[in-house]
């Protein structure tokens, strides 16, 4: 925690507004040196006090955690990972066509499923449908990957495959909310918000939870909202799934209409008005916090666009993420942004792969569309893993690849598969997980999770565990009771970690 505190002085000048001499500030506070302690007492909620939190030396950490909800907090125990990148494949990639090969499915193609289908299904499906792709073994670990992911296959020794994930809801909406919030029938905080609440942010100019091009369908903002947790833990969205990633922006981050000089004058006059008002209204923490929030907003206006400006990235790096190819450029840019947010200290970064349909939702045209989808993400994801590794970031960054559910091994229409929450594959990489490792399995046909089943709640508990958070202790009291991400469920899968 100490390494984020890079200001050695015990006194700082409050803000930068007073650097402009154009008008006389009629409040004498503005040029006053303020002690850290009094600054802390003046600052309060939200980003407004983040800047100050980062100036804290260790001894003041305790104070920060009660004054500022986003101040960095200690985990419950030693963390393996400091942050998470969630690569969300919207719509449900098929496990039996990607990472979970099933020889019997190939053999029994066209025959009926030899056991019962689930009581509740989304659509009806007919007989078994073999995968149109070949599987091969890769790396030293010899894990199987289908021909859909040739580039990712080269990184297979970094992957920790979980083949036995299962959920409860066969519809996109319910399953998306379950995946993001742990609940499919109540509005609850998103996992990223829980992480923000549990750990705060290491970067005073950025939120702890960022989501890039999320989909507004199937739960929409509830999939990145803080719900009843303090608003500072809301996910900050860059654009949404309807805009290409090079146009994804944080809302209201820019003012293209006012010249910069006018903006600065505006802030200066506003600050003076607010300080005069404060002097008359008497000490009030929220009035003071709001004064600080404008200053931070002004700084965010340059800090966030700077992060989004990729011009400093080398041609090699851009190529690594596939930004030189129109097929991979959009998702590649998101992955590169994710790495940059990782470096900047953001705790939870979600990247969503979602086009103007539900990207991976192949009720039909499995071959054509899964191929198109995989081509868009295969190289960028492999590039991200390579880049994180070569920068030493993979050790404490947990990369999580997954979706709201998998697909049925049985056919819907003739060349499609239905939703299947009963058993599917996700993988993790880095953050202390075992590379080249597989855990759990589905049945012979890949329909149901069979061995070492990992429910979404278990997965959540495991992700929090990697971050040093005990899912049973990460609670928030609301409407009279303590809430957790995992409700009353969740078992940590310790086997996944080195």
């Amino acid at each position: 925690m100490g390494q984020v505190c890079n200001l050695p002085e015990t006194h700082i000048l409050l803000g930068k507004l007073q650097t402009c001499p154009t008008t006389k500030m009629n409040d004498n506070d503005a040029n006053t040196l303020i002690s850290r302690r009094s600054l802390l007492q003046r600052s309060a909620v939200g980003f407004g006090s983040l800047a100050f939190a980062s100036m804290l030396a260790d001894e003041s950490l305790a104070q920060a955690s009660i004054d500022n909800p986003l101040a960095p907090k200690l985990p419950h125990f030693a963390a393996r990972a400091k942050r998470v990148i969630f690569l969300m494949m919207s719509g449900g990639p098929s496990q039996v066509d990607t990472f979970d090969p099933k020889p019997l499915l190939t053999r029994d193609d066209g025959k009926p499923l030899p056991f019962a289908k689930p009581r509740v299904q989304f659509n009806s499906t007919s007989n078994l449908l073999k995968s149109p792709w070949k599987f091969r073994q890769y790396g030293e670990s010899g894990l199987w990957v289908s021909d859909l992911f040739p580039r990712l296959a080269e990184r297979v020794d970094d992957l920790c495959m979980v083949h036995s994930v299962h959920g409860t809801n066969p519809a996109h909406g319910g399953a998306m909310m379950k995946l993001h919030t742990g609940s499919d029938n109540f509005i609850r905080p998103s996992i990223g918000s829980w992480v923000s609440y549990g750990l705060g942010t290491e970067n005073s100019n950025l939120p702890a939870f960022v989501t890039i091009c999320p989909t507004l369908a199937f739960g929409g903002i509830n999939n990145w909202s803080s719900s009843f947790l303090p608003a500072a833990h809301n996910g900050t969205a860059l654009g949404d799934a309807s805009v290409p990633s090079d146009q994804a922006r944080v809302k209201f981050i820019e003012n293209s209409k006012l010249p910069r000089e006018i903006q600065r004058l505006l802030l200066e006059r506003l600050d003076a008005m607010n300080r005069k008002h404060l002097a008359q209204a008497g000490s009030d923490a929220s009035l003071e916090a709001r004064i600080n929030s404008f200053e931070l907003a002004f700084r965010m206006q340059s800090s966030i666009p700077k992060l989004e400006d990729l011009s400093g990235e080398s041609a090699t790096t851009r190529k690594l993420y596939g930004m030189d190819d129109p097929v991979t450029a959009n998702f590649g840019r998101m992955c590169l942004l994710a790495r940059r947010f990782t470096e900047a200290g953001v705790r939870f970064i979600q990247v969503t792969h979602n086009d103007d349909k539900v990207q991976w939702d192949q009720h039909s045209n499995l071959k054509r569309d899964h191929e198109k989808n995989a081509r868009e993400v295969d190289l960028p994801i492999a590039g991200l893993l390579t880049d994180l590794k070569q920068r030493g970031l993979l050790d404490d960054t947990l990369v999580w690849w997954g979706s709201e559910f998998g697909r049925t091994p049985t056919a819907e229409t003739t060349d499609g598969r239905d939703h299947n929450p009963e058993g599917f594959t996700m993988w993790l990489a880095g953050g202390g997980t075992k590379g080249g490792f597989r855990y759990g399995s589905t049945d012979d046909y890949g329909y149901y999770a069979a061995e070492n089943k990992v429910h979404i709640h278990d997965l959540h508990a495991t992700l929090l565990h990697a971050l040093g958070l005990d899912h049973e202790r990460l609670t928030y009291r609301y409407a009279g009771r303590d809430f957790r991400l995992t409700d009353v469920e969740g078992n940590v899968v310790h086997e996944l970690f080195v």
Partner: protein, 786 residues
């Protein structure tokens, strides 16, 4: 808000802990201090061992201390033995024995003692206590005598003053007239007072000047638009389903307008409750009344539903659960939903009580079909106008069809086939068919309202652990027996029982309905309730700060015929309400959280009031009332897969009328703490985050308001001095000081110079004024009420 209050505690010189620790303090204790104590101290000073006679596992034990004396002195870390021990300053007192604590850990303990060593009550909370105060009917309370008989305007003030006097404190002075009219106007109608209204009030020196203001505000149609919105928070109102299938509630707006009108007409609250739960079962005198009562049942229908839930039995029980949870929270302040899977852990609500109530809603028809995508029921609202509209439409369609038929088979005749097959006719036919299709697609929806009706009457079985497949005993419909006072209703097999449930709720002896509602109104006026957990009066809710006042208000409210406007008058005309926001120094430190209502709270405007004030100040507000601004047809998708939200918010109407889209609430609302419209909420947050500042600096709505405000000033006044006066009076309700005038003049000059010389003088001047207006509209003085 909690955090803000927390800071108030920190700022106080000597915080006197008259109140239990705040949730934020406890969270600090639980996340930082308790783990430290548990890990490093309790092995030797806990329940198993007490070395040196010392335990560190409760506040009492810490205060009592061990052989060397008290371990802590709250507020005085330097005088606390615990701190000396962990700092290891004395040779004979170095703790822990193994390794010294990290500086950071010591700092945490110091901090904890500084803020008074908050520690949760160790006495196990009473659970499932049937004698809990909120389950007994309110009793008549004697009005307390007070030392200062001049201060109270009514019994309300006597209850407040008695507590203050008992604590040795005095209330704040009365707010000045400008503050008062701004506060009352924003509070009652959600808009700032106009310069004329301020002048009139200032000029009126009669003793009932303020009463006249209050009467005017309560009579304004703007009042229902403001207070109806408060109720809509509780009713989790939205114009879309949200959840998985986010489709348009095309007719929800009728319920919204019903609520606003109910407040404007001062509909007695008991009637308001009955109509929302059972309006379809009530007799009516007129078609209008019948429609109104049907619309009211929208309350039960507008909740979020998982419409693509493939398990239909589960979907049905989920919808019932949502209705039950909302009804419980809105009217009873109870978390009934807990009892769906197990007996309530804290409140004496058994699973059987839950399914006894659920039977009422199972006997109620909410959904037309449960097959995905499921469809909710709607009441048709036939009227002469609607029938005529429909008839006209049908006639147009019929005429079109006839014309097509005519072209397709143009009667007998030698060249008829030739005519039919000619290119020109084919083209004409195609055009007409397309027109017909478009016409039919755009056909008028007959007026309809979301709402419920009766279904097959049934009692249902307990669902073990909430599972619709694991059924236990059937429970007859009834109300929870733990709530004592009202007459126990009789449920029959002819009616769902919604009417009986509603009548039971508004029985004058009901322990919760009136208390919960007057507490809500108090919360909306003062920023916090007498019971701060407005939506939870159960055992985990907070106890009231003024229990006698709460009972007195509840009984008075019922005695006044459940008149909400009478309740407003009582509150707004009180000395308590009319206090200034500045406390005396002593009161500020002794009552830092203002639990005793020793002053007015400084409060940020809600999202709607911010937007409406921006529009009003800049002269843009469109006061048209009612109707729908949704651009989608009923049940159409807001955004299915594309994430393109086509909803627009560029209307100049009051915020009440803007579409509330679940899963993607309007930016400005989202950022300014508009509550999640999927859940009933009586206590909005008021956060301060930088994204709000970005909104105020960079959004079109604020930029445009600033520009229009400046145009208004430049057009209305002839010189800059008058313009400055006008700016301050409109935005802040006061004249600028001489200092401010000087600063602003300098600012205008600087802003003028800062622009490129290429622009003409007039547009530079406009920009300078717009920027000054922008600053004012973003200023705390504009956004906060004192």
């Amino acid at each position: 808000m909690v955090i803000i209050l927390m800071c108030a505690v920190l700022a106080a010189e000597e915080p006197v802990r008259v109140q239990p620790p705040t949730p934020e303090q406890l969270r600090f204790f639980e996340t930082t201090v308790r783990p430290l104590l548990a890990e490093r101290c309790l092995k030797c000073h806990g329940d198993k061992k007490q070395w040196g006679g010392l335990r560190l596992d409760s506040r009492e034990a810490l205060l009592q201390g061990g052989e060397s004396g008290a371990a802590i002195v709250p507020g005085e870390p330097d005088k606390s033995l615990l701190i000396r021990a962990v700092r290891q300053v004395d040779d004979d007192l170095k703790m822990p024995k193994d390794n010294k604590l990290a500086e950071r850990q010591i700092a945490a303990l110091v901090r904890w003692i500084e803020i008074g060593a908050p520690f949760p009550e160790v006495t196990t909370p009473r659970t499932r206590d049937p004698n809990h105060w909120a389950f007994q009917p309110p009793v008549e309370q004697p009005v307390p005598t007070v030392d200062d008989p001049q201060w109270p305007q009514s019994a309300l003030d006597s209850f407040i003053l008695a507590k203050l006097e008992a604590a040795g404190l005095s209330p704040a002075t009365r707010a000045d007239k400008r503050t008062l009219i701004r506060r009352a106007t924003l509070d009652l109608i959600g808009l700032p007072p106009t310069p004329d209204e301020i002048d009139t009030f200032l000029a009126d020196t009669s003793p009932d000047a303020f009463a006249r203001i209050v009467d005017r505000l309560l009579a304004s149609p703007r009042y229902g638009e403001r207070w109806g919105r408060h109720w809509l928070d509780v009713a989790r109102y939205a114009d879309s389903n949200g959840f998985d299938e986010n489709i348009a509630h095309g007719n929800a707006w009728r319920y919204r307008d019903y609520v606003a009108a109910a407040f404007n007409r001062d509909k007695p609250f008991d009637q308001f409750v009955i109509e929302q739960l059972a309006g379809d079962l009530l007799p009516s005198q007129s078609e209008a009344q019948q429609h109104e009562q049907l619309i009211a049942t929208g309350f039960l229908s507008i909740g979020p539903k998982v419409l693509a839930e493939t398990d239909q039995a589960k979907m049905r029980m989920d919808i019932i659960d949502e209705q039950l949870a909302t009804t419980g929270r809105a009217f009873l302040g109870l978390t009934l939903g807990c009892a769906r899977c197990h007996d309530h852990k804290f409140d004496p609500i058994a699973t059987a009580d839950y399914y006894a109530l659920a039977g009422i809603f199972k006997s109620t028809l909410t959904m037309r079909k449960y097959i995905k995508v499921a469809e909710w029921h709607e009441h048709l609202l036939p009227s002469a106008a609607a029938t005529a509209m429909r008839a006209e439409f049908d006639a147009t369609v019929a005429a079109k069809k006839a014309a097509i038929a005519e072209l397709e088979s143009p009667g007998a005749g030698s060249n008829s086939a030739l005519l039919r097959d000619s290119e020109a006719t084919k083209a004409a036919l195609k055009k007409m068919r397309d027109e017909l299709a478009a016409l039919e697609k755009a056909g008028p929806d007959l007026p309809a309202a979301m709402g419920v009706t009766e279904d097959k009457v049934t009692d249902i079985a307990i669902h073990l652990r909430g599972d619709p497949l694991k059924l236990g005993d059937v429970v007859p419909r009834r109300t929870p027996p733990v709530l004592r006072g009202p007459r126990v209703p009789q449920f029959t097999d002819r009616e769902s029982g919604r009417r009986q449930l509603a009548e039971w709720l508004v029985d004058p002896q009901h322990p919760l309905t009136a208390r919960v509602f007057v507490n809500r109104v108090w919360r909306w006026h003062f920023g916090k309730g007498l019971v701060r957990t407005t939506d939870n009066f159960g055992l985990l809710g907070e106890t009231p700060s003024h229990p006698e006042l709460l009972d007195w208000l509840a009984r008075r409210f019922v005695a006044d015929g459940w008149s909400v406007k009478s309740l407003h008058r009582l509150i707004v005309m009180s000395s308590t309400y009319q206090q200034a926001s500045t406390p005396s120094a002593e009161t500020g430190s002794r009552d830092p959280e203002n639990r005793l209502f020793s002053r007015a709270e400084v409060r940020r405007l809600e999202a709607e009031a911010v937007r409406d004030s921006l529009l009003a100040t800049s002269g843009q507000l469109d006061e048209t009332m009612g109707g729908s601004l949704l651009k989608l047809k009923n049940r159409a998708y807001f955004f299915d897969h594309t994430s393109k939200d086509l909803t627009t918010y560029d209307s100049r109407r009051r915020s009440l009328y803007l579409p509330i889209v679940r899963n993607n609430v309007f930016d400005l609302f989202q950022l300014l703490d508009f509550p999640d419209p999927a859940v009933s909420t009586g206590d909005r947050a008021a956060t301060v985050v930088a994204s709000q500042a970005l909104l105020m600096l960079n959004s079109d709505i604020v930029m445009q308001a600033a520009t229009k405000f400046a145009e208004r000033l430049l057009a209305d006044s002839t010189d800059d001095d008058r313009r400055l006066s006008q700016l301050y009076v409109i935005a802040f309700g006061r004249e600028p000081t001489a200092d401010e005038r000087q600063t602003d003049r300098a600012f205008l000059a600087a802003a003028d110079q800062a622009q490129s010389t290429g622009t003409d003088a007039d547009s530079r001047r406009r920009q300078a004024w717009a920027t000054l207006c922008h600053a004012a509209l973003a200023a705390n003085e504009f956004i906060y009420v004192r």
